[in-house]
Symmetry: C2
Subunit: 255 residues, 2 copies
């Protein structure tokens, strides 16, 4: 006999999940992200990230595009979902922090029948922070030094404000081929706005991936240390200390 | 025959893991956190969080203390580990962000034979952010309004700097019995330093737990909205929009 309830359950839903996978290895994903990637009909994302998860999550359909094709990926995911499929749009780190959830939700206005779900993940500030110890244990800012989507003057202003407020900082995209000196410029702005040269800083490269490296150094040393685009930079507040090789920000200003 | 290699492997290690469990439910933990909690000899933490994980991770020994007994828990974990045990020190959210990794690493200087590992987790900025959509998709600050460990003047200064830099914000500990009006005070500081009354804001209560609720509202509305200590508050930048009930910050200032 025809059972309408059962029929409904078997129907695929039209849904796009924006999934933060953390640093890349499924070991650092949440159970929620894991379950979503196991259950969807299609997985879409930047090729480098798909390569990291494909062995663990074989899926009917994979769709990957290059680094600057974010809108193209969102559109593909929404189109696919609108045919009744369940689609995961994969982001490294968190789905929200400089991630795909934002353009996806904006585009989704054009697809009222598609449901969106955002699945959070470990952004580099947290996953790299754990490698260094506890660099962000008190009030902190996350700032991207990439001026691809943001005017450099806005970035400069934010660096100055972060320094004036004695925030801890995590800096994303500290360098690339076209702008090898942006971290140096950023350090100079921080110093001009109140961060002392002895401020404890840290670097983590290839977080959670093969060849992960890290070090703790001073802000003065950071100014002359070359970094690449696979590095996340941490800058302490006035109370941050180097403790047995760790970078540790106290949880408060009182004991 | 006695096999020294095997003997060594069977020896318990002296290690304390500072484990961020995210909002509480094991569903939002990473695989890494899961594996650690399954493998340790003892789990220690604030009672409320242990209650959330105890059903899933039965462990030889549990040790819980009250909310302000952080140092006591760190000490217990280090003492226990120094007898050759593997111990997990559980934190809600991330282990680093206002978490136990910081006091643990400071105290660990007194226990040179104990190894420390920090296991990151989803801090509320991310887990609650996913509920709202993408509130922190561009440069952002995390600020705690609790003045238990930080002078209020420091908090005020940081709020002012965050507003001047047009950062998105996640506010932790926006209220408690002793300070019901702190969020109101914070909103006034943000408004006095450049955040407009129409700035898009969001609230998430009981993130990832039973009875989770959320809403999107303006900064002007937020000023007169009572919140409790189970709420995380999100404040957008000048470009943040309310889109189909979501709070969405664009990833950049250019298209």
């Amino acid at each position: 006999m025809f059972d309408p309830m059962e029929f409904e359950i078997d129907q695929p839903e039209s849904v796009v999940y924006a999934v933060g996978i953390g640093p890349g290895d499924p070991y650092y994903m949440t159970q929620e992200a894991h379950n979503v990637l196991e259950s969807v009909d299609a997985i879409c994302g930047y090729k480098l990230y798909l390569d990291l998860i494909e062995p663990e999550f074989p899926c009917e359909e994979y769709y990957s595009t290059g680094m600057t094709k974010e809108i193209d990926r969102c559109r593909w995911a929404l189109e696919k979902a609108s045919t009744g499929k369940r689609v995961a749009l994969v982001c490294s780190g968190d789905a929200g922090v400089y991630g795909m959830a934002s353009p996806l939700l904006e585009l989704a206005e054009e697809y009222p029948d598609v449901t969106i779900e955002v699945v959070p993940g470990l952004t580099a500030a947290l996953s790299g922070g754990a490698v260094l110890g506890a660099p962000l244990a008190h009030d902190f800012c996350v700032i991207s030094l990439s001026d691809r989507l943001t005017p450099w003057e806005v970035i400069e202003k934010r660096l100055a404000c972060a320094a004036m407020g004695d925030f801890c900082l995590a800096l994303y995209n500290p360098s690339s081929k076209g702008r090898p000196d942006y971290l140096q410029k950023a350090v100079r702005i921080l110093r001009a706005n109140g961060k002392g040269p002895e401020t404890v800083c840290g670097l983590v490269r290839n977080i959670g991936r093969e060849g992960q490296t890290s070090c703790v150094l001073t802000l003065a040393e950071l100014e002359s240390t070359p970094v690449d685009m696979f590095t996340t930079v941490y800058i302490g507040n006035a109370a941050t200390r180097a403790v047995s090789g760790w970078m540790v920000t106290p949880r408060g200003y009182r004991k």
